[in-house]
Amino acid sequence: MLLRHTPKEISERKALTINPAKTCQPIGAMYAALGIHGCLPHSHGSQGCCAYHRSTLTRHYKEPISAATSSFTEGASVFGGQANLTQAFNNIFTVYNPEIVAVHTTCLSETIGDDLPQIRKKAIKEGKIPEGKEVIGASTPSYVGSHVTGFSNMVKAMTDLAEPTGTKNGKVNIIPGWVEPCDMEELKRLTKLMGVGTILFPDTSGVLNSPLTGEYKMFPAGGTTVAELKSTADSMGTLALGEWCSADAARQLDKKHKVPCKVLDMPFGLKATDRFIEALRTIAGVNVPDEIMTERGQLVDLISDMHQYFFHKKVALVGDPDQVIAMTEFLVSIDMCPVHIVTGTPGKKFEKRIREITADMPFEVNVKAKGDFFLLHQWMKNEPVDLLISNTYGKYIARDEDVPLIRWGFPILDRQGHQYFPTVGYKGGLRLLEKILSAIMDRKDRDDPETKFELVL
């Protein structure tokens, strides 16, 4: 067994995290920053952080991930990182010439108390930040929250660029949260079909799914432009998809620029997508076009066709709060039973929300925020499931427990497709159903006795 030392009996752990279901803030801030066009993310800390984040994002996307670091040495750690960061600005704008640098802190710079806004101000004064270039900064201490918190903090920092012109732009801000490039593309396709003008930020489509052409673009075509980010202050409202990933930025725009906002669930699955479309419909006062109605009807059709295979199958689900909440609702809506649910990110309201969604499920539900894979595995040993939905780290449990695994979330280090095929929206729902079905049916075809082997399913 790969995880041969994991006991079935569950003992309380106060201090030891084993096989985490989260990582630290800065990587989230880096991923978010990559969703700004012409942006170089910068890690203000020792270079190891930056190296680790770039490696992990690269393994997930199989794409180049450019980011700079302040490369703290012991000296900097004692005397503060200002000199390093200022020097970094100078080098970055000279050598790489980005439109914007998005700085995030680390446990190191946070512990020594570096003051980003002040450093930024000074750098501008010293002319280390050229005219017309932007620098934004997010405080992302690794010892608070998780990678999701870091993502949220960087998205919030983007709103610092918001600049009201006094005239509304007639658009809706959409904050997609931590989803794949193709998901962001799909959200843009849906809003376009709805005839709603939008500013989507961040937007990693065209950045982290770029073509192979023989040319290397450090700053690819995609991403939300600085101009768009400035214009967010003039939008008619903001739809924040996901309380954990996107709400803070939306509320910030409301607070600072009176741009009203609404926090919705991430549009995974039928119902959450319905709410998203319904919101767009009412905000823009438009009718839902046939094309979207057809996609919706196709999703409902597939649910009805395949319901017999979903019905009362038990699922273990681990991932980030916004994603897991929407996925739980989707699973319940197709009569599957998510019985073990874990997120590594802290937040009691996560557990509360899951309990609401699963309230009338026929099985008891184990749910934990700030949980880890070790606990999830122990739960699975005590009550086996038919399916595990997890990032790549779930494969060790899946193999030991011989449970089919659907890779979904972050990071996915051992499969391809997640950056090309969306799982948001109705079409995304079709893809999720296809994956769930194949997982269940592949196992059925493997395990059915020959007398029961089926040609038609």
Binding site: L16, I18, A51
Partner: protein, 547 residues
């Protein structure tokens, strides 16, 4: 097309100029010292600046001290619970990402193996504010209660040093409290030193201080050695051990591929230390010699010829005809397959060019394999090497120790009162040296590279892109962070840290694997797809040719 005509319009000096011309003056001056045009002179090469600070803002390949200590050296230890004290990230990123393979072998499925696990104290803000010692103590206890490991290693991440958690005292106390579990700590905060290299040193120190020599139960074996600086990436260590076994050589302990606590503890019983990765492990080699009297030689099992050569060195050291004969027999048995593979593949790889920028020794080791493929190394360098890795240990006395290095503990070792015993007399060593066996020696990368080759220390992303654009190598070797920016340029990129998902590449079978892999990469038709037909031939003839 060979590299020749591609290079014609460039000479190294021009290229060097190109690489640094866009930099701010200060940066340009610094980088100029780290880019050396090789002169490959008998009596050495020009001096290169290495193991110096990374330039803030310049996108580097380097990682941190923690990565070198926890990730590289301690990562492959199977039965030690490696507990990271700090916020969750550092522990998460080092979780199963280095492809160190391990085999709980004899103990079978029940053998201890914690490598698939990730242990962290997941420090929270209140720990930073009020200190994390209590939490660490509790975490060690919980790990012990759950797994009863024979040893727990504690690793410090950045904030730990700053807030002053005394991890060494905690470890000491817990070791005493637990009784049957050796607990010790590594002060490998990420900000220390200038690269992973400092982490190697810190790991070497603690492993030697807390584990090596802990077990005097005699280890059986006729020709006992340790293999130092081999990390069993993609199964390299398995292949080398296969060859050792065939030769009748007993490898007591590999530092640290596929290793166990007991192997380290008994390492002092070896009669020879064979050093693979000079950069990461030479400290242990030196200390083992000083304290126990075990000489060390540099070996290299990357490349079939190199493997044969290294085996012969070991045999020569033991001065035993039986071993010498067995080694020759093994080489004679293994080489035909290798040669067959080479003969088949060489026509497709010969004359092509390669660039290598990895680690502290690999760039050197892999040159051997590319030589065997008839491929020319047109530029190379290390990510965290020191001058001696480039120029050879002869420069050691002349290396000035800067502030960053001075902060890394240099432990003083003395001969062990009871257990020090020189394996060879001075005279014997002298005799062997005269026969060409070099002890405690490493000549570095430079002498093995052709004159005019660009040797670049701490190559960064900008320079890498420029180099590839200017010199158009047929293959570029580095790490995962570099892989896709290079490939976007249409040049195949091979990871020499993790081997992508290939390997083993060490030893005889490994060489064959590598030949095939490079053949696949440099001859892949994929790169011909980058341009669409209409880009090759864009003009629009209004009239389409129907049937």
């Amino acid at each position: 097309m060979g590299a020749a005509e591609k290079l014609v319009q460039w000479n190294p000096t021009d290229i060097k100029a190109e690489l640094i011309k866009k930099y701010p003056p200060k940066v340009a001056r610094k980088r100029a010292k780290q880019i050396m045009i090789n002169e490959a002179l008998e009596n050495g090469t020009p001096e290169i600046t290495a193991n110096v600070r990374t330039i803030p803002g310049i996108i580097t390949m380097r990682g941190c001290t923690y990565a070198g200590c926890k990730g590289v050296i301690m990562g492959p230890t199977r039965d030690i619970v490696n507990l990271v004290h700090g916020p969750i990230g550092c522990s998460f990123y080092a979780w199963l990402t280095r492809r160190n393979q391990t085999d709980p072998g004899p103990e079978g499925p029940d053998g201890e193996n914690f490598m698939n696990y990730c242990f962290s104290t997941d420090m929270q803000d209140q720990d930073i504010i009020f200190g994390g010692e209590k939490k660490l103590e509790q975490a060690i206890q919980e790990a012990y209660d759950l797994f009863h490991p024979k040893s727990i290693a504690v690793f410090a991440t950045c904030p730990v040093g700053l807030i002053g958690d005394d991890i060494h005292t905690i470890s000491k106390q817990m070791k005493e409290k637990l009784g049957d579990c050796n607990v010790y700590a590594f002060s490998c905060e990420g900000y220390k030193g200038v690269s992973q290299s400092a982490g190697h040193h810190i790991a070497n120190n603690q492993v030697f201080r807390h584990i090596v020599g802990e077990n005097d139960e005699p280890v059986e074996g006729k020709y006992k050695i340790n293999l130092l600086g081999e990390y069993n990436i993609g199964g390299d260590g398995f292949e080398i051990d296969r060859v050792f076994k065939k030769c009748g050589i007993t490898n007591i302990s590999t530092f640290s591929g596929n290793s166990t606590y007991e192997q380290f503890a008994t390492a002092h019983q070896a009669d020879l230390n064979a050093v693979m990765c000079h950069r990461s492990i030479n400290y242990v080699a030196d200390m083992l010699e000083t304290k126990f009297g075990i000489p060390w030689i540099k070996v290299n099992f990357i490349g079939a010829e190199a493997t044969a050569k290294s085996l012969r060195k070991i045999a020569a050291y033991f001065e035993d005809q039986e071993l010498i004969d067995t080694v020759e027999a093994v080489i004679a048995e293994e080489m035909p397959d290798v040669e067959a593979a080479a003969t088949e593949i060489l026509p497709r790889t010969g004359g092509k060019t390669a660039m290598m920028f990895v680690g502290g020794s690999r760039a050197h080791h892999y040159k051997e394999l590319f030589d065997e493929l008839g491929m020319k190394t047109i530029s190379a360098g290390y990510e965290f090497g020191h001058r001696d890795d480039y120029e050879g240990r002869r420069v050691l006395p002349h290396i000035k120790v800067d502030a960053d290095s001075r902060n890394i503990e240099e432990i003083v070792v003395e001969a062990d009162e009871t257990r020090f015993s020189p394996r060879k007399t001075e005279a014997e060593l002298k005799a062997l040296e005269d026969d060409g066996l070099k002890f405690k020696d490493y000549e570095g990368l430079a002498p093995d590279l052709e004159e005019g080759t660009l040797i670049i220390d701490d190559l960064n992303q900008y320079e890498a892109e420029k180099l590839v654009e200017l010199m158009k190598p047929d293959i570029f070797c580095a790490g995962i962070k570099e892989k896709f920016s290079i490939q976007k340029l249409g040049v195949p990129m091979k990871q020499l840290h993790s081997y992508d998902s290939g390997g083993p590449y060490a030893g005889f079978k490994g060489a064959i694997n590598f030949y095939k892999e490079i053949d696949r990469l440099v001859n892949s038709r994929v790169w011909s797809y980058m341009k669409a037909p209409w880009q090759e031939n864009p003009q629009l003839s209004g009239t389409y040719v129907w049937e």
